[in-house]
């Protein structure tokens, strides 16, 4: 097992909008180590989500390599990536993206069903994670019966249930009020500490940038490693 959970080497990704090519990532190289609590910052459209999508194997780079657990998966065929996503990554989305017809318990359980985990173990893992996110009493509730914060807690539990290599969180607090956002951030930081789960965020949220071990800043598709304090200053400066 390598120290680096995820490695990007010279990754380039360009989108085509009509007849125009819009570069999202240009020659991005970065290593994400196990247990890191890393944030990717940058203005809207800077490529934050694109980098998470490529790392999470839901998008493919036009050029460059992606190594997961030291293994180059860039050339893996599409059908093989579904298993890879289930095995290595947990996803937290800005819009929660829970399955509306499943209860909170079933939403958390779903990735384990895909992974073929036995019933007893599923029950144990889902139960303990719902307890960890404070939703044991809401296990039988459907997403529409939960508040935004509760939905995102379910999403966090779902992201962690397979004990993934990394949790990829795309603007996880953007749709929440600041109090709820802070609570969830504390929860994720706590899980990062206690379970040594690798977290990788794309965010504008100053609180996340403050808590992050590392902050990677994207400008014009290029990645620059920045210290948290510098970013915070930049964010504060931008507001003033």
């Amino acid at each position: 097992m390598t120290e680096e959970a995820i490695q990007l080497r010279g990754v380039r990704r360009t989108y085509r909008l009509g007849k125009t090519d819009v570069p999202a990532l240009e020659d991005v190289s970065v290593d994400i180590r196990r247990g890191e609590f890393t944030a990717i910052a940058g203005p809207s459209g800077s490529g934050k989500t694109t980098i998470l999508n490529i790392i999470g194997c839901i998008d493919k780079p036009d050029a460059g390599r992606l190594l997961i657990n030291g293994e180059d998966v860039t050339e893996r065929p599409l059908h093989a990536l579904a298993g890879l996503r289930n095995r290595y990554f947990g996803y937290i989305f800005q819009t929660f993206n829970l399955i509306p017809v499943l209860t909170a318990y079933e939403n958390v359980e779903y990735p384990l069903l895909l992974a073929g985990v036995r019933r007893n173990e599923r029950r144990e893992r889902v139960g303990s994670l719902l307890e960890a996110v404070g939703l044991t009493a809401h296990a039988k509730h459907k997403p529409q019966e939960l508040s935004g914060g509760q939905r995102q807690r379910v999403a966090i539990a779902r992201a962690l249930v397979t004990r993934p290599l990394a949790v990829l969180a795309d603007e996880p607090t953007a749709n929440l009020d600041s109090k709820t956002g802070n609570e969830l951030l504390d929860l994720m930081a706590e899980l990062n500490e206690s379970e040594q789960v690798t977290f990788l965020f794309s965010t504008h949220d100053a609180k996340i940038l403050e808590k992050a071990h590392r902050v990677l800043s994207l400008h014009d598709g290029r990645l620059v490693e920045t210290k948290s304090s510098e970013i915070l200053r930049a964010v504060a400066g931008g507001r003033s």
Binding site: N53, G56, I58, A82, F93, P100, L102
Partner: protein, 409 residues
């Protein structure tokens, strides 16, 4: 697999209004098929029993020689000593009654004019036992045991011969030995089969009268009536085996199905109409439900993206939508069968009378039969149709690009 089925089943009830509309279309299709199928089955049953009662019976026994080749002379290949065979036949399981019949042709003359005829020698008493009805237009049917040779004429033949009840006519025919023969007969009535061309040539006399004309004691065939039409094959097999045991390998059997060519043509025609109706209904259901499924896919793009992101394979996305089609199809099929059954009871209870078909002088009741196999087939067809309807939308869903799907609002 259960997890995908669970998602599919719950999605069916996610948009109750849309699902209700889809179910309404399915139920309408199922009811149409059940009523049309039940009506056609009722017609088949009516025509079948009419055909059997109108002279074919359930089984007919001939000599194999008669079945294999044309007779050069009347009754040359007929059945010898039919009475003994009738006694044996009537002791067989499911056999209710038997009747001999002689088929012959010849000329009928009133002294001034002669016409060719198609004659039948019948046993009126035994034919009544068989339930055969002669549609008498005037006069009376052939009497049993009268000394005088009697004849009843088809209405067309009677008109051609300017015959009246009580008139004496002469029948001319060829005997089994090839000689010409003639007998005098008295007209006692006129009958109609409903087929104009046949009525212009048909006449009936008693078996002894026909045998007298043909100079033979043989009969062309024995007609067998069974307790139930459904027992035809069973009885045919038993009688065929019994004949072999008796050493009567010279005799052969034909069922009503072998002999009722008109019935078979009608069945083919109606089956084609039913198939055409079925195809239209299936297309209607496919178009309607396919459109609904497509809308469902469009509304759930982000959800599909999430499922894919979590590691759901594309073939499982297809499966979810096919399961949805199956669940809607199964529910629609069950509801359609229930509604179809209810409609059938309602229509049958209403006692609707339809206008009389050609050659009938009375209207016929609109009755719908309960055919369990039809209900099973409609259920299977609806369920399969819905799965097929879900095919294209499900493939479209599975082909979504995850990034685009997750961005979809």
């Amino acid at each position: 697999m259960t997890k995908f089925f669970r998602i599919a089943a719950r999605n069916v009830f996610r948009n109750p209004r849309r699902t209700s509309f889809t179910l309404l279309v399915i139920v309408f299709g199922a009811v149409s098929l059940i009523l049309a199928g039940g009506f056609i089955a009722n017609n088949f049953q009516g025509l079948r029993e009419l055909t059997i009662r109108n002279g074919i019976g359930h089984l007919q026994i001939f000599t194999n020689a008669y079945l294999n080749g044309p007779e050069e002379r009347p009754l040359q290949l007929g059945i010898e000593n039919p009475a003994a065979l009738q006694t044996w036949l009537e002791a067989q399981p499911h056999v209710v009654a038997t009747a001999p019949e002689v088929e012959f042709v010849g000329l009928i003359s009133n002294g001034e004019k002669s016409e060719a005829f198609l004659g039948r020698g019948i046993d009126p008493t035994r034919q009544a036992d068989l339930g055969f009805n002669v549609n008498m237009k005037s006069g009376r049917p052939l009497g049993a045991g009268t000394g005088e040779s009697e004849v009843i004429l088809g209405t067309g033949l009677a008109t051609n011969m300017k015959a009246h009840v009580g008139d004496a006519l002469t029948l001319l025919g060829t005997t089994t030995d090839g000689a010409l023969n003639a007998i005098d007969v008295r007209v006692v009535g006129f009958f109609s089969t409903g087929i104009k061309e046949f009525d212009a040539r048909a006449l009936k006399v008693s078996v002894p009268t026909a045998q007298m004309l043909l100079g033979s004691t043989r009969v062309t065939k024995l007609i067998v009536k069974l307790d139930e039409t459904g027992n035809t094959e069973l009885a045919r097999a038993a009688i065929a085996a019994g004949l072999v045991t008796k050493g009567r390998t010279d005799l052969g059997l034909r069922t009503w199905r072998d002999l009722a060519s008109f019935y078979k043509q009608v069945v083919m025609l109606y089956s084609s109409i039913f198939l055409f109706l079925g195809v239209i209904i299936v297309i209607l259901v496919v178009l309607s439900s396919s459109n609904t499924m497509m809308m469902t896919v469009f509304e759930r793009v982000q959800e599909i993206g999430t499922l894919l992101a979590l590691g759901t394979r594309r073939r499982h996305i297809v499966l979810i939508f096919l399961f949805e089609g199956l669940v809607i199809g199964a529910i629609g099929g069950v509801l359609g069968c229930i509604a179809g059954y209810g409609s059938m009871l309602g229509i049958n209870a209403a006692g609707i009378i339809m206008p009389p078909p050609p050659s009938f002088d009375r209207g016929i009741a609109l009755n719908i039969n309960f055919v369990p196999s039809l209900y099973a087939a409609v259920f299977a067809l609806i369920a399969t149709t819905l799965v097929i309807s879900a095919m294209i939308p499900s493939i479209r869903a599975a082909r979504l690009h995850i990034v685009d799907a997750l961005r979809h609002v």
